[in-house]
């Protein structure tokens, strides 16, 4: 029996009716058509489905869509500034070769966005702790670490700060 759901996704208000057992990740992918958020496991280990819920990183497979009632959701599609261009983290992942197959990348970008909003100048250890909920099988993480460092430096130097770029609506 579908229940009403009202929330904001990437700055746009939505009203839908969804089954109570529908996971947030499936709501985003199948109802909103935002397929950038990926499913890589069924036990909340891989982090490919990470999105921001009111600015906090959440594995969207661990949450029912109805639990996001009234929340502001940001997915990878909403990461870049509205006027075009790329978020500094996207730029850094591109420049530093922080992705290969790209399947885990949206989750890393969202988790890293939350990390940098909280800690604009993380050490390597802090980056590791901040991203330990995300698995990548291609890169060996070396260039992801580099990319997060590079993005942090760019953002400290005045590139669009993560917090304002991602928490839309």
């Amino acid at each position: 029996m579908p229940h009403p759901l009202t929330l904001t996704v990437n700055g746009t208000g939505r009203e839908d009716a969804v089954e109570p057992r529908l996971l947030l990740v499936h709501y985003l992918r199948e109802v909103c058509g935002l397929t950038g958020t990926h499913v890589g496991c069924d036990t909340s280990q891989c982090g490919a489905c990470t999105v921001l819920v009111d600015g906090a990183p959440v594995k969207s497979c661990t949450m029912f869509a109805l639990q996001a009632e009234g929340c502001r959701i940001t997915t990878v599609e909403g990461l870049a500034p509205a006027g075009g261009g790329l978020h500094p983290l996207q730029t850094a992942f591109w420049e530093q070769h922080g992705l290969q197959c790209g399947f885990c990348t949206p989750g890393f970008l969202m988790a890293a966005t939350a990390l940098l909003a909280e800690n604009p100048d993380p050490t390597d250890e802090e980056i590791g702790r901040g991203l330990e909920g995300n698995l990548c099988r291609c890169t060996g993480y070396v260039n992801i670490r580099r990319a997060v460092r590079a993005a942090a430096a760019a953002m400290r130097a005045g590139a669009e700060p993560a917090a304002t770029a991602v928490v839309g609506g």
Binding site: E19, R21, R29, L34, T35, G36, T37, H38, V39, G40, C41, D42, T43, Q45, C46, A48, T75, V76, E77, L79, A80, L86, Q90, F93, W94, E95, H97, L99, Q100, C101, G102, F103, C104, T105, P106, L109, D124, I127, G128, R129, L131, E132, G133, N134, L135, C136, R137, C138, T139, G140, Y141, V142, N143, I144, R145
Partner: protein, 781 residues
């Protein structure tokens, strides 16, 4: 020769803009109108007889369109799933395999029925309502036990469990051992691993009854092979089947061979007249996607006291699982490569493939070559320890130095400079300082170890003659089509299939240099069997650049030479008098007179062609390399083992590799980093574990199967030497598997070195805290 601009340049990847913004096109992102969802009913038993299947309750469940079993699939599918000869052509027992079990299930997770429903969740719900009555049978889990006559049989109607038993003899092994002044012997395990691409498998199929056409979308490393096999099973012309792989979220060997679902989903689409999609869950993936490794080695080395290597004798017992993986016998190449970078008087390798009641094994990144390198490099270290010789010195004393170098089995290493990579790695690691640091740590009672691995691999599959035999008929050559359009941009079609390797970028770099065209005007297309040349063999075995990239280069050269003829006609000059530079043909001596490649392209579709020249500007090339290519390198690792917990910490990691000419150094470095990480994962963390009695999979989720996080993988110091291959015009080799081949023994040699003061000489993988703690407890007085 034109000055190269793009080859060797660190070009940012053209794949990335869509992937970093959430606009990738992975299999689960593709939907079709009217699409329905398939879920698989799988055996919970490793071995059982199917007594009956009751589908009534599932068939009546909400949203369910059909419940299908072997009976229904036999009306659409025929034959047995393919098994390639590979490196064990003389197989003894190959159990037939229909994509879905009918009378007997032989591993946990084997398909028994499928449910098709209007929604994925409803299909999953109905799976639980299919009632299958099983009569459990004894399961055989341990491959060594399975070898014994009288063992429980993995298939009740099989003669025994021996899939193959092949011995490769390279020289007079008895004579070599007769000269031995010292011998070392070791039993070395290669645990089962799950490839674990972050995107699981998935298949979407649509059958059009009106024109009898089938389209299959799937995550695959080789769509042409999938078309080849599925069209045969469905009794359809190969040309009536189109297979499409778009973005593929990693493969690592797990997306090479055809799987049951690759047949069942298209068959269900045909039976139901609806587009049908199946997406594998992670639990299904660990349970049913082919595993890699799963081998036990008994190895013995004979040597002189001065460190001269004489003979290497080994036995590989390979756990096949319940069926032969399509390319599972590829891993038998471990024996042929076990001599590594060294000169031996003789090497003898016996490979035994053994059936067990587990998921089949098949290539996983490196496939046979990591195993060969691990055995060889462990044994060389064991010998160094026995002789009290520095392991770097022992290696140098035995390196192959004259190239081409023919190994004991007649394989010809194309080019190499093993001293060069080892010297550079030891220099970067500051080896003498590391040894001093180790001595100091040992005086303080700390367990610090240094591991060295010097490696070589066979890759770049082709060539045609040996590989056609190995696949059962299809030569692993590669093809490309380069087509320049009237306005001067180019479409390039290839038969390889990237899963993160960056071919859109590197292959376009090759075309850009060959045709002098801007990179952004070159479109690289792969993954759609309806486009390009007749066949492509896909991406695995570090073959894409040295075979596929060379087909691209050769096709581009053909286009350039046709353009030269046309330009000469337009310029009223002799073709031999034209100079081609920066995308422009100019008359030698009068550089102002010329035609750009774009102007020539337009003319190729116009009305002023020389007589006898056909219209258009395009070419097809098939590249058949004359030999394999043989990348190599040296890795050095420093570890510290916690004496209380057994935890291993990698303190320093250095890798120096040589893959010949480099097209894009950024991508090469990324491939090595990722490969090293997967090797560290095998050395320290990952293992697929089945309960030895019940045959139940104990590591069925990513909570139990320990894929490392960022915290486990250190930064690496990487460098390269460049020794071009003589096998292809660009001098390239492969680099996709290098890190995985190189790093596992470097890490384990370091761990063994760290524990050697306790009298521990060998550690099996994964060198987990639990395993090391136990070894240390046993070793301590």
């Amino acid at each position: 020769m034109a000055v190269s601009q793009m080859i060797g340049a660190r070009i940012q990847r053209r794949e990335d803009p869509r992937l970093i913004t959430g606009h990738g096109r992975f299999i689960e992102d593709r939907t079709l109108p009217g699409m329905v969802h398939l879920a698989v009913v799988r055996s919970p038993h490793p071995h059982a007889r199917i007594v009956s299947i009751d589908t009534a309750a599932a068939g009546a469940a909400p949203g369910v369109l059909a419940v299908l079993t072997a009976k229904e699939f036999h009306t659409v599918l025929s034959g047995t799933m393919p098994v390639a000869p590979a490196f064990a052509p003389d197989k003894k027992y190959v159990p037939p395999r229909f994509p879905i079990a009918e009378q007997e299930v032989c591993f946990q997770g084997e398909p028994v029925a499928v449910v098709v429903a209007s929604e994925r969740a409803l299909a999953a719900d109905a799976v639980d309502l299919v009632h299958v009555e099983y009569e459990p049978l004894p399961a055989i889990v341990d491959p060594e036990a399975a070898m014994h006559p009288g063992s429980v049989k993995a298939h009740t109607d099989g003669p025994d469990n021996i899939g193959w038993d092949t011995t490769f003899a390279g020289g007079d092994i008895e004579a070599a051992f007769a000269k031995a002044e010292v011998r070392v012997k070791e039993r070395i395990l290669q645990q089962r691993l799950a490839p674990t691409s972050m995107e699981t498998r998935g298949v979407l199929a649509q059958y059009s009854p009106f024109d009898e056409r089938l389209t299959i979308w799937l995550g695959s490393q080789n769509p042409h092979f999938i078309r080849f096999f599925v069209s045969m099973s469905m009794g359809m012309p190969e040309s009536a089947v189109r297979v499409v792989a778009e973005d593929v979220g990693g493969g690592f060997g797990g997306k090479i061979s055809p799987y049951p679902e690759d047949y069942l989903v298209p068959a269900a689409a045909k039976l139901l007249g609806r587009p049908v999609r199946w997406i594998e869950t992670r639990t299904e993936s660990i349970q049913t996607t082919t595993h890699g490794r799963g081998q036990v080695f008994e190895a013995e080395v004979a040597a002189r006291r001065d460190g001269t290597l004489l003979g290497l004798r080994l036995t590989q017992v390979l756990d096949l699982g319940a069926y032969h993986g399509t390319f599972g016998a590829f891993q038998a190449c471990a024996g042929l490569m076990a001599g590594g970078v060294y000169r031996w008087e003789a090497v003898e390798a016996r490979s035994v493939g053994v059936l067990t009641n587990k998921v089949p094994t098949d290539p996983y990144r490196g496939a046979g070559r990591p195993e060969a390198t691990h055995v060889c490099e462990r044994m060389v270290d064991r010998l160094a320890q026995e002789l009290g010789m520095d392991p770097a010195e022992l290696r140098r004393r035995n390196f192959a130095r004259e190239f081409p170098f023919t190994n004991n089995f007649g394989l010809v290493y194309d080019s190499g400079n093993y001293d060069g990579t080892l010297d550079r790695a030891l220099e970067l690691a500051d080896y003498p300082a590391l040894r001093e640091r180790q001595a100091e740590a040992r005086r303080a009672g700390r367990l610090v170890g240094i591991g060295i691995s010097t490696w070589v691999e066979i890759c770049g599959f082709g060539p045609a003659a040996p590989t056609a035999g190995a696949t059962g008929g299809i030569a692993l050559v590669e093809s490309a089509q380069v087509r320049v359009l009237p306005t001067g941009s180019a479409s390039v079609f290839v038969g390889t299939q990237a899963q993160g390797q960056g071919h859109d970028t590197t292959f376009a770099q090759i075309v850009a240099d060959t045709l002098g065209m801007p990179l952004e005007t070159i479109e690289l297309r792969h993954g759609d069997t309806a486009e390009g040349t007749g066949f492509g063999c896909g991406t695995y075995g570090s073959r894409s650049l040295s075979v596929g990239g060379m087909a691209v280069q050769q096709a581009a050269v053909k286009v350039r030479e046709k353009a030269r003829q046309l330009a000469a006609h337009l310029l009223e000059a002799d073709p031999d008098d034209l100079v081609f530079e920066q995308g422009r043909f100019a008359v030698q001596g009068s550089p102002a007179t010329g035609k750009s490649i774009q102007e020539v392209a337009l003319a190729a579709y116009g009305g002023s062609l020389p007589s006898g020249m056909e219209h258009g500007l395009e070419a097809v090339s098939y590249f058949d390399p004359s030999n394999w290519v043989w990348p190599f390198g040296a890795h050095v690792c420093l570890v510290e083992v916690d004496p209380e917990t057994g935890a291993v910490r990698i303190e320093q990691y250095v890798g120096v590799d040589d893959c010949g000419t480099v097209i894009n150094p950024m991508i090469v470095e990324g491939q090595v980093q990722g490969g090293v990480a997967q090797a560290i994962a095998q050395a320290l963390y990952e293992e697929v574990v089945y309960d030895g009695e019940s045959g139940q999979l104990l590591t069925g989720t990513l909570l139990d199967y320990l894929v490392p996080t960022m915290n486990e993988i250190p930064d690496m110091t990487l460098d390269r030497t460049v020794t071009p291959s003589p096998v292809n015009p660009l001098g390239v080799k492969g680099i996709g598997e290098a890190g995985t081949i190189a790093a596992t023994p470097a890490v384990i040699n370091a761990v063994c070195d760290a524990l050697s003061p306790l009298g521990i000489h060998h550690v099996d993988m994964p060198a987990s805290p639990d395993r090391l703690w136990r070894l240390m407890q046993e070793a301590r007085p």
